[in-house]
Each structure stands twice: as C-alpha cells, then as structure tokens.
Amino acid sequence: MIPNEAKKRLIQVVGAENYDDTKTGRLVYSYDATPQFQSLPDAVIAPRTTQEVAEIAKICNEYRIPIVPRGSGTNLCAGTCPVEGGIVLLFNHMNRILEIDEENLTATVQPGVVTLDLAKAVEEKGLFYPPDPGSMKISTIGGNISENSGGLRGLKYGVTRDYVLGLEVVLANGDVIRTGGKLAKDVAGYDLTRLFVGSEGTLGIVTEATLKLIPMPETKQTMLALYQDLEAAARSVSKIIANKIIPATLEFLDQPTLEVVEDFARIGLPTNVKAVLLIEQDGPKEVVERDMKKMADICRAEQAVSVQLARSEEEAEALRTARRAALSALARLKPTTILEDATVPRSEIAKMVKAINEIAEKYQVKICTFGHAGDGNLHPTCPTDARNREEMEQVERAFEEIFAKAIELGGTITGEHGVGVMKAPYLEWKLGPAGIAAMKAVKQALDPNNIMNPGKVFAKSTRKRVVVTR
C-alpha cells in the first residue's frame, strides 16, 4: 500500500493523469511475457522527465516503496512483474530519439524508444544498430539495456551491452549520475555503464542512453540448411565456428518448432525435416559470397539434405520474422509455454542438443528446441498446462537437469533472458556463494533500502542442486 501522503506527493510530481491506482490500471501491469507470474502493483506512474524520475525515487526511498521500471513487458524472466507491489514506472512519455550523431556514430535516446524504431531511424542514415531481440518490434531500449537483451545477430555483433556507451541513471536515493559518453576510450573509474546494463532495474533507473552505431553492412545473404539429424545440425554449427567463419546469424529450429512457425507464418518452411539452420552473413559482397559458399559446403559435409539460398530480401525477411515468432508460435500447442535459455560454449552445442533430448525422454515431457545456436544459446521450450500439477513438476525437474548440464559443460543458466524471479533460485549454481555475496554487496551499496525492483536476481532460497549422472 502506498501511504496517502506519499500518493499526494507523487501526484504533485507527475500530475494526476500520470498516476493510476485503479484496479484495472494496476491489473494490466501485473504481468510480463513470463508464464505463471502475476502480482498487482499499488500504482502505475508515467513520469515525463529525468527530474520527475528522481523526485519519484526520493519519495519512494523515504517511504520504502518498491519501484519496478517497465518497458513493454516482453521479458521472459518475470523481471518486470511487481512481486512485492509498489509502483510500476512507465516510459511512455520518455520515448524520443534525442540525437543521431553521424560524426561520432552514436545515438542518444530516452528509455521508452521502441527498438525497431531506433533501428529504422539510424538505417535511414546508413547506420546500423545491431542488437535485435526477438521482440524488437515491441520492446524498448530501456528494457533492452536493463535486461542486456541479445538477439539473432549476437554471434557476430554482440549483444546490447556491446552498444551502450553511456547512461544517465537515477539512483535509489534520487541522485542522477551519468556514466561513460560518446567515447571510444574511457577508463575514468569503475565501468558503471557495464554494471547497470543487465542489472534488471535492481540498481537504478535508466533515463537516457548513448548507444554505439556502426556503418551498415553493404550486402547480406540468407540461407536455410535442412537436416534429418538434429545432432548433425548442431555439429555443423561448431564446425562453422571452428573454420573461423563468424556468420551474422546462425539459428537452429527443430521439427516441432518448424511446424508451429509454419502454421503461423505460412511461408513454405520445410516441416518434413528434423532440423534447420538459418544462416546469414553480411559485409562486402565478395566476403559474403565466399563465406556462404564455405558454410554451405560444411553443412553438406555434415549431411545437410539440402542447402537453399533465399532468392530475395523479402524471402530472407520472411524467414527472420518467422524465426522471431518461434516462441509465441509454440504457444499454439498447449495453454502454458515454459521456455528456457541455457547457454553453453559454442563447441559444446551438439552435446547440449543431445542432452536436452535425453532429458526430455527421461522425464517424459515434450521439449521443442530453437535458438541462437551460433552463440551456444538454446531455447528448449516445453508446451504444457499449468493446471496439470503432476506434469508441471516433471517439467521443472527436466529444466533443472538442463541447467545443471549446461553448467557442467561450462555454460550458464541464462544467456539473454535474465534472472528476474524465474531463475533466481538457480543463480547460485552458476555463481557460487561468494559470487552471490559480491553481487549482494553491490546491491546493498547502491540500494540500501531495497526499493529497486526487489525480489529479482537474488532468491530467498536456492534450489538444491541436482546432480547430473551422465
């Protein structure tokens, strides 16, 4: 509950029209794209300026009211679900591209800018903002930064982190700090920019960001490699990397995923093969052609039954769009769709694919797999029904074993979706107690009253670690 006095002061800051504590207003910000998490905030506030955000933080800090910053609510770790109530902070009014600096190749934006809008705006100037999370048409830059979102181009171009040069951040006590800037080099003190990127709103509120842009690649080609053997597809991925080729995109989709995606997109995807790789390369024409040919040869040598080049940009775009819809399309199968994000070193991808299938078999659950194979980042997804308790327990056990296997292979519990609430119980598996303690020390120093997105990242208790006996 927000004390009356605090409410009055908050309204003074943002105006009554930007403060909503009706039941409906709260309900529609009680969730994000993560299944099985829902919790009502006490109010929803839409500030218009950094100054207003700072005032809000001060008031909330004084009254110990949790603050949950939220973009478009597309995250997959319950990162914006207000599990401890408090206020949800919206950036609908702070959604402008402030500057595209063509001399320094940077863009300065407010957090509410939609990722695709930024990508299009810089493209008009011949520039390129590579991070392209699956939900880029909907997600905001603020959300991308807080979750350190990945995407289909991560393999060659890196993730959101690699494009954030500077930030304006409002701290829990209302202080406004600026980190980094339009600088190619900057070692003045701790790298706070990197600290805030991916901090899931638990350390501060991003109110402005300066992003790195690069020149638009000259050309791009797209192809599909078809396989009748899952592991052969996964082996091709490792082989391509081992042959010192870094494609722009190297995505993996298994048969059940292909079927649902085709059911939605109807673009003639092959549904009679066990797996496909979606491969893209960009850059100068000669390099692209050479790499595509080499990769096609590698795929064929690894028993690809067919390798097809997209005939036009429309066809290529249709393939990318279809791939981005994979997760939501899987929701066609069953009422509940549980998706994971285990990531392993690229060399281990074939082992991980094999392990996922064996684990699915062991627990008698259906697991569909797609993902950024070139990054070692897979999305094993389980279509199930939250109303079926017994099956849900099996699903949970299966995923625990997948996490354990990923860590055993030198991987991590989450590659790009974040910890949030969903993976908090498993964080210690990856970091160990000392790692958790170090992170908690940072949190404690910046947010002593634990008002910044509480309940995320750190779990009240850690899951007992399962032992993988394989």
Partner: protein, 454 residues
C-alpha cells in the same frame, strides 16, 4: 453504473462462459501491441491493448478483479478490428473472446432507459426487417430530396444533434427511392457464357442506403460470367448484433440466412462488405453449440467469398479497364483483411485499371475508426484514429480513396470533410470504381454503353 449484484452476475457468467483455453492461449508476448490502433493512439496504454484486454477478461474469470466500470470501459474502447489476430503467433482468437465478453456485459447490465429503447429499436425493430430498412431509407430519401435537408442545414436545426451524428448526416449518400429499392429481379444471367453460379448476399444497409453499389456488384458479376441468384428471404447478417452484445439475436439472423442460401446450388456466396462477409464466415463459431445448425453453418461459411476474390478468380483484371488518370489508394476493410484474409485481390484489381496510379498508403491495414457504430459511440477515439488515417492518405496524394465496406466508406467521406479535402478527393467503394473502369474501357472502344444491354 453497475451495481454490486450486476457485477457479481457478470463475473459468474464470465466464469461459466468465457473460453478458458483461449484465454490461456495468450502467452502475453506482446506481439499484438504494435498492430492495435487504440494502444497506439492512447499513447501505449496497456489497458487499451489486446494483451491488456485479455488479461482483464482472464482476471475477471480468475476472480482477481471485479468487472467494474474500468474493465467495461477498456472492453468498449476496443474497435474490434481484429488486427491483433493475424499477427498473433499463438493464434489467439481475440475477436471471439471480445464478442463473448461484450455479450455477457450487455445481457447482465441494466442500461439507462433511453439506451435500452434505442438498442431495442435498432437491433430488434429495424435491422432484422428489410422492408422496414427500406422504409427508413425512403424516409431518409424524402429528407434529402424534399428540401428538408437544405432547410435543416440552413436553419442550424442539426446543431441539436451531437457532433458525431451531425458529421455523419453530411456524408450519407443520396439514397434510392422506395420504388427503386423494391423492383430488383432475383436472378441475373451473365453477358456471355456461364462460368460460375453464385448467390449474392445483399446485406441490409448495402441493399438500401448503398443500393447503387449493390447494383454495380451485380453488374460486375454478370460481366465476369456469373449467373447470380439473390434469394429474397435473406436479411441482415447480424454483425452489428454480434459485436454489440446481442448474440442471441445474431444467431436467429444467422439461421435465417443459412436457410435462405443452403438449398441453392451455387459455387459461391458473394459479399461486397467486409464487415458482413467476415460475420457470415464466422456463423460456424456463432452456432458452435447448436448441433442442428453447426454443420449447416460450416457448409454455408465455406462458400462465402468477397467480390474482389471472385473477380480475380474469373480473370476480371485481365479485361480492359480504364478511368481518367488519377492517383488511387486503398484503405483495407479490417474484417475483410483480418478475418476474410482478403488483401491482395482488391489491390490487384485496382492496379489493373488503365489510368490508375496506385499508391499504397502507410498503415493501410490499420482501422479507420469506423468499426460498425464505434464512430457514433466513441467519437473521440474514432476521430483521433481517422485524423491519423487522413494524414497517411494525404501523403499518397491520392485523389481517390477506395474501400470495400460501407462503414469504412462513410468514415473516409467523413475524413475527407474533416481534412478539408472535399472537392479534390473522393471516396468510393471498389466495385463502383471497377464498374466505372469497365464502362470507361467500353466507351473508349466505341461500344454502346453496357447498361443498355442488361
């Protein structure tokens, strides 16, 4: 206001009637958000998005919230354009959820007396009865022709009406006389050999206020080689009822139409209004709980096709078509596009006309804000959406805006008025332009006007 008892009844009905699997099928990914006109126009308010509305419906079912005024408001502000459906990777049938929710609210809520009277008059008294539709239209014709309209406009009498009605009065087409409406034959033969046998779904408003467009449709079908049957016992499709919370009445109308058409041995049931066509297509869903009618509805729906699809199938775009040189743009009818999945055929036909420079308008697939009677009941949001639409239309520099549904057509005319473009820009139904083009080509070939041969 909803009373506490009403809220409890609505909640109970939600729990009993809402399709829980369909609600759960929404995995809240948000892929629908950018396609939703009210989400965009409201400055990205989640409560004005499909994801938000589904969450509200589910929360009412789950007992998390009561169906209070705010919930109702969110559901009522939805245009029902269903642009969220084709973009939904999970395939959630949002339109069905919305229809059910609105029906529950309408059936359990005691509305103010004037609203109840108007609803009864329109839904039960007028639309289901074609002869009354004709009389009402004739009355409108008398108003338009007798000099009363001139008088009403001059004296400022119209100012007594709310602004949205006043604007609508200005853009209503000049309607046919009672005699013209009554004397149409029930069967037409094609000009040349019979390629297809089709039945024509005439519609209630289309066959009165927009009869000229219906006549043009029949003419096009004849030119394209169709034998056309117009069963006289058909009537209103029931879309307004279905979308407006009068589902039972909609079912009765559906049965009447199914019975009127099912005995005919035809290849297609042709429609020329996206809103009606889409509702006919969904008769199967409407009657899904009625074992006697479900199968019959499916057989009926399987034959429903928009005029533009039929014309393309019969190669109409390959015949000579010509109009005076002009720039043309096309505004999709939401239900034609999102439910009937017809988007390419109308564009193909327009591009085939000599003299037409076709320019695609940005966001042509976004609702124009007409949405049945939405522009009358939610004028503010409707006009906001329309003004954006006109901006996009202006950017194409089109002098002709083409639509494929009567509601959209009126809304476009209204938009042209509001944008101060009357005189330089016109809005037409696609079949009217196509007939103009067919006649234009014939005139150019020096043949006698085709009206005389029919």
């Amino acid at each position: 206001m909803t009373t506490k008892i009403e809220r409890a009844l609505i909640q109970k009905a939600f729990q009993e009637r809402m399709d829980e699997d369909e609600l759960m099928n929404c995995m809240r990914c948000g892929f629908c958000l950018p396609s939703c006109p009210t989400y965009i126009e409201s400055g990205r308010q989640e409560a004005q998005s499909p994801r938000g509305r589904i969450a509200l419906m589910k929360a009412v079912v789950d007992g998390l919230i009561e169906p209070d005024e705010e919930v109702e408001r969110a559901l009522h502000l939805c245009l029902g354009c269903r642009a969220c459906e084709p973009v939904c990777p999970s395939g959630v049938r949002y339109g069905h959820l919305l229809e059910e929710a609105r029906d529950i609210i309408a059936q359990h809520k005691k509305m103010p007396l004037p609203v109840r009277l108007i609803r009864k008059l329109v839904f039960a008294g007028l639309f289901p009865h074609q002869e009354r539709m004709r009389k009402a239209t004739a009355l409108l014709g008398w108003y338009q022709r007798s000099g009363l309209r001139t008088l009403a406009r001059k004296t400022g009498l119209l100012r007594l009406l709310p602004a949205s009605f006043r604007q609508m009065e200005r853009v209503l087409p000049d309607v046919p006389t009672a005699k013209e409406m009554k004397n149409r034959p029930h069967r037409f033969n094609p000009d040349d050999a019979v390629k297809k046998r089709v039945a024509f779904f005439a519609g209630c408003l289309m066959d009165t206020m927009f009869m000229v467009t219906n006549d043009a449709t029949l003419r096009l079908l004849q030119l394209a080689g169709c034998e056309v049957i117009i069963p006289p016992s058909q009537g209103c499709c029931g879309a307004l009822h279905g979308h407006g919370g009068e589902k039972e009445m909609a079912k009765e109308l559906a049965k009447r139409n199914i019975a009127a058409f099912e005995q005919l041995d035809v290849d297609y049931i042709v429609t020329n209004a996206g809103g009606c066509g889409a509702f006919l297509l969904e008769y199967e869903h409407l009657l899904k709980d009625d074992p006697e009618w479900r199968g019959r509805a499916a057989a009926f729906a399987a034959k429903v096709k928009d005029i533009s699809e039929v014309l393309v199938e019969l190669g109409f775009h390959q015949r000579p078509l010509r109009v005076a040189p002009q720039t043309v743009t096309y505004q999709d009818s939401c239900h034609l596009r999102n439910v009937m999945k017809t988007a390419a055929a109308p564009r193909r036909l327009l591009r085939a006309i000599d003299g037409v420079e076709f320019r695609e308008m940005k966001d042509a697939d976004r609702c124009c804000g007409s949405a049945g009677i939405y522009n009358l009941v939610e004028p503010e949001m409707s006009m906001q959406i329309l003004d954006y639409k006109m901006e996009m239309a202006k950017q194409t520099k089109a002098t002709t805006i083409v639509t494929a549904n009567p509601g959209c057509l009126l809304q476009m005319k209204l938009g042209i008025e509001r944008a101060g473009l009357s005189g330089s820009v016109r809005a037409v139904h696609i079949v009217d332009l196509l007939l103009e083009a067919a006649e234009g080509a014939q005139a150019a070939q020096g043949e006698e006007r085709i009206w005389q041969t029919s």
